[in-house]
Symmetry: C2
Subunit: 161 residues, 2 copies
DNA sequence: GGTATAAGGGACTATTTTAGTACCCTTTGG
DNA sequence: CCAAAGGGTACTAAAATAGTCCCTTATACC
C-alpha cells in the first residue's frame, strides 16, 4: 500500500543508533543489542548502507560502523535509495523513451509527475528530522508486544536473537 | 521500491476507458477488450472501485460501468485508496496511540510526516491529469513487447485473454 | 606470529504479499 | 425464462521481501 519496506524502517532505526564519524564506532553486535534486531539483519543493512556511502566502516578487531556525515545531511530519499533502489512509483517510470510506442503506457507516463513530487518530499526530510520527535514520547523501553494495541504491528520485531 | 502495485496501474488504465455517468455504460468485457487486460482482472478491479465509490454500475443484461464523476474530480489518492487500502508509508503510521510505549517506534513515528506530504501530493493529481498527457504521444496501438526497450516492462501485460 | 574479533560478500531459504483465476449467486432486459 | 452482465468469495500461483548462513578478509592484542 505504497509503503516502505520493513528493512528500510529498520535501516532508519539503525542509523539513529550510530555515532558520527570521529566520535567512535559501533559494532554490528552493539547495534543489534541496542535496536533489538537480529544481528544478521543488522549486518546486512549496514553493509548496504556502507555501499551507498551513508555509513563508513572500519574492519578488524576493534572495528565497527559510524555515520558518514551528520544526521542533518542524510535524507530520507538517500536511505530509501540505499535499501530499496531508486524510487519509481510505477515500473515504467524509471525507463524513458522506448515506451512511447506502447499505447497503454500513456497512463503510466503520468505517474512520473507524482513520482517527482514524492522524491522531492523525501529529499527534504533528514535523518535528524526523522529521529528527533517533536513530541518526545515517554521513554519506556523494553516493553514488547503485550502492550501494543491491535492494528499497530511492531515496526522492528523479528526476535531479539 | 515505494511503488504502486500493478493492479493500481491497471485500475487507472481502466478508469481512463470508462464513460462518465449519463453518457453510456461500458461492460467489463468491453473494457477488457479496449485495455487488453484479462477480463477476470478487469472485473475484480471494477468491483473494488464500485465499492469505493469511484465507479457506478448497472446490473442486468445491458448493464455495465461508468465513472461516478468527471475525471477531474477523481484523485490519484482515491484510486490508490480504493485498490490498495489507505496509504501508510510504514506499518505503524495508520495506527495512533498504542505505540507510544514502544521505544523503537520513535522512528516509525516520524515517517508519518512524510506520509502526509505524499498523501497531499497524491490528492492533488486528478485522473484527468493522469490520463491527459502533456505531450500527446504518437498513437500506434496494438504493438506489443517486441518494440519495448529493455528496462521498460510493460505496465499492463498479463495476456490479452 | 597466532588468535580472537569484526566487517565484506554472496548464496540460499522461508515467508509474505501480490497477481491472477474460478466458481457460484443475483439482477434484469428481451 | 434465458442469456448477459454485475456481485461476492475463495482459491492458486508467482514474485518480492525478509531473514539466515557460510566463508573470506582485515586488524588489534597477546
Amino acid at each position: 500500500m505504497l509503503r516502505i519496506s520493513k528493512l528500510t524502517d529498520y535501516g532508519t532505526l539503525i542509523l539513529s543508533q550510530l555515532p558520527v564519524t570521529g566520535s567512535g564506532l559501533a559494532s554490528a553486535g552493539a547495534v543489534s543489542a541496542s535496536t533489538r534486531l537480529a544481528q544478521p539483519t543488522v549486518s546486512k543493512l549496514l553493509k548496504a548502507m556502507v555501499r551507498a556511502g551513508l555509513v563508513v566502516s572500519t574492519r578488524g578487531a576493534t572495528g565497527g560502523y559510524a555515520l558518514a556525515r551528520p544526521p542533518a545531511d542524510i535524507s530520507a530519499a538517500q536511505i530509501i535509495d540505499a535499501l530499496e533502489g531508486p524510487v519509481a512509483i510505477t515500473e515504467c517510470s524509471s525507463a524513458s523513451g522506448a515506451c512511447s510506442l506502447e499505447s497503454t503506457c500513456r497512463v503510466g507516463h503520468a505517474w512520473q509527475k507524482i513520482n517527482i513530487g514524492i522524491r522531492r518530499a523525501l529529499a527534504d526530510v533528514s535523518l535528524a528530522a526523522l529521529t528527533t520527535d517533536a513530541e518526545p514520547l515517554p521513554q519506556v523501553p523494553n516493553l514488547r508486544s503485550s502492550v501494543l494495541g491491535p492494528g499497530c504491528r511492531v515496526t522492528s520485531p523479528e526476535r531479539a536473537r
